[in-house]
Amino acid sequence: MVTQTEADLDDATLVARSRDGDMQSYEALVRRYQGPMYRLALRMLGSTSDAEDAVQEVFLTVWRRLAQLQEDRAFVGWLYRTTTNRCLNVIRARRPQADVELDEHESTSTRTRPDHAAEVSEQMTALGQALTGLTPEQRACWLLREVHGRSYDEIAQTLGTTTQAVRGRISRARAQLAEVMAPWR
C-alpha cells in the first residue's frame, strides 16, 4: 500500500487537484514556488514587505483563476507571468520619486574561500543596486531570463511584446550592467 504526500507529487497532478478545490495540493504548490516568486518580487520591487504582499496577492489570484488555466503543465509559467505583472503594477502605482532602494540583504550562498566571498558579495551588492537603474520592464526581462532561466517566448508573452523586443531589452540591460561591473574586472 503506497500513499504519496503532496510534497512528492508532480506539478500537473497538484494543479489538477487544486483546480478541484483541494487546498492541501495548492498549499504544496505554494510551498514549492513561494521562494522563486519571492526572490523575483524582491529584486523587482526592492522591498521585503512589498515583495511579501505581491507574492501573497499572486497566489490568491492564481487560486481564484485556476479554472481558467488551459493546461496544467503551464502552471509555473503562469505563476511567473502573474508575479511579473503584479510587480510592474506595483511599480506603476508608486509615486515616481518613491522608487525604493534595494534592501540590503545578506547573500547566503556558501563559498569556500572567504576572501573571494567578500569580493563577490560586494560585486553582487553593486549588481543589485545597478538593477534599480534599469527600467522596470528591462529589469523584468533581464531577471526572468538571466536569473530564472525563462524562455524568450514566455517573457515576450508575459510583457505582451515580441521576442525580438525582449532580446533587445536584455542586451541593453546587460550592457548597462556590465558598465557598472567595470571596477571589478
Binding site: 500500500m1 503506497v2 500513499t3 504519496q4 512528492d8 507529487l9 508532480d10 500537473a12 497532478t13 489538477a16 487537484r17 483546480r19 478541484d20 478545490g21 483541494d22 487546498m23 492541501q24 495548492y26 505554494v30 510551498r31 513561494q34 521562494g35 519571492y38 526572490r39 524582491l42 529584486r43 515583495a51 511579501e52 507574492v55 501573497q56 497566489f59 490568491l60 487560486w63 481564484r64 496544467d72 540583504h105 547573500s107 547566503t108 550562498s109 563577490v120 558579495s121 560585486q123 553582487m124 553593486a126 549588481l127 543589485g128 538571466e146 536569473v147 542586451s171 541593453r172 546587460r174 550592457a175 548597462q176 550592467l177 556590465a178 558598465e179 561591473m181 567595470a182 571589478w184 574586472r185
Partner: protein
C-alpha cells in the same frame, strides 16, 4: 532616458552584444585576431566576466520568504473559498446532513493514490438519482512504467469501499479516465 543601440557600439565597430556572444568562443580558446588584439573588446569582456560572476551568485541566492508566508497565503485562500456543491448525506428525518463534494473528492483521491503507479487528478462528484448515492468521474495519471494487471479494478474497489466506509454513501457510478502519464 531612452537608450539606443548606438550607445553600446565600441570604437572598434563591434557592439557589447557581439562581445557577449563571442565570450564563450574566446573562453574556449577560439578567439579571432580582433578578439586577441582589440583593447576595447578586452575591457568589455572583463566587465562581462565580472557581471557573469555576480549573476551566478544572484541566481544561486537563497534568500527565503518569511516562515509565516505560506500560512498567510493559505488563510487568504481559505477565507476566499466558499464551500460549494453540497451533497446530502443519509440521515434520519427531520435532521439533515450535508457534505461538500470537495470533501468526498479528497477521500476518493486518497483511496486511489494507495494503488501503486496511480495518482488521482481531477475528481467530479455529482449526486445521482437517489439521495444516498453519488456518481464520480475520476481522472488519473499513471506511471510510465505501466500498471500491474488489475490496477484499474483495484482503484475501483478501493474508491468504492472508501466512499461507503468513510462517507456513508453509495457509489452508483465510477468513470475512470486516464488523463496523463507521470515519470517520477
Amino acid at each position: 532616458m531612452a537608450m539606443n543601440d548606438a550607445d553600446y557600439m565600441l570604437p572598434c565597430g563591434r557592439d557589447v552584444e557581439t562581445v557577449w556572444d563571442r565570450l564563450t568562443i574566446v573562453d574556449a580558446g577560439n578567439a579571432d585576431e580582433h578578439d586577441r588584439s582589440c583593447p576595447h573588446c578586452r575591457a568589455v569582456r572583463e566587465s562581462l566576466r565580472a557581471l557573469r560572476a555576480a549573476v551566478d551568485e544572484l541566481a544561486s541566492e537563497t534568500v527565503e520568504p518569511p516562515a509565516d508566508l505560506v500560512g498567510r497565503i493559505m488563510s487568504a485562500v481559505r477565507a476566499d473559498s466558499r464551500r460549494r456543491d453540497m451533497l446530502p448525506l443519509p440521515s434520519q428525518d427531520p435532521n439533515e446532513a450535508r457534505i461538500s463534494a470537495q470533501a468526498i473528492a479528497s477521500v476518493l483521491r486518497f483511496a486511489a493514490d494507495t494503488v501503486e503507479g496511480v495518482r488521482a487528478r481531477r475528481c467530479k462528484v455529482r449526486q445521482s438519482d437517489s439521495a444516498d448515492s453519488v456518481e464520480v468521474e475520476l481522472s488519473i495519471a499513471v506511471s510510465y512504467r505501466g500498471l500491474t494487471a488489475g490496477a484499474y479494478d483495484l482503484v475501483r474497489e478501493r474508491v468504492t469501499s472508501a466512499v461507503s466506509a468513510r462517507i456513508g454513501v453509495r457509489l452508483s457510478r465510477l468513470d475512470i479516465v486516464v488523463a496523463d502519464v507521470f515519470d517520477t
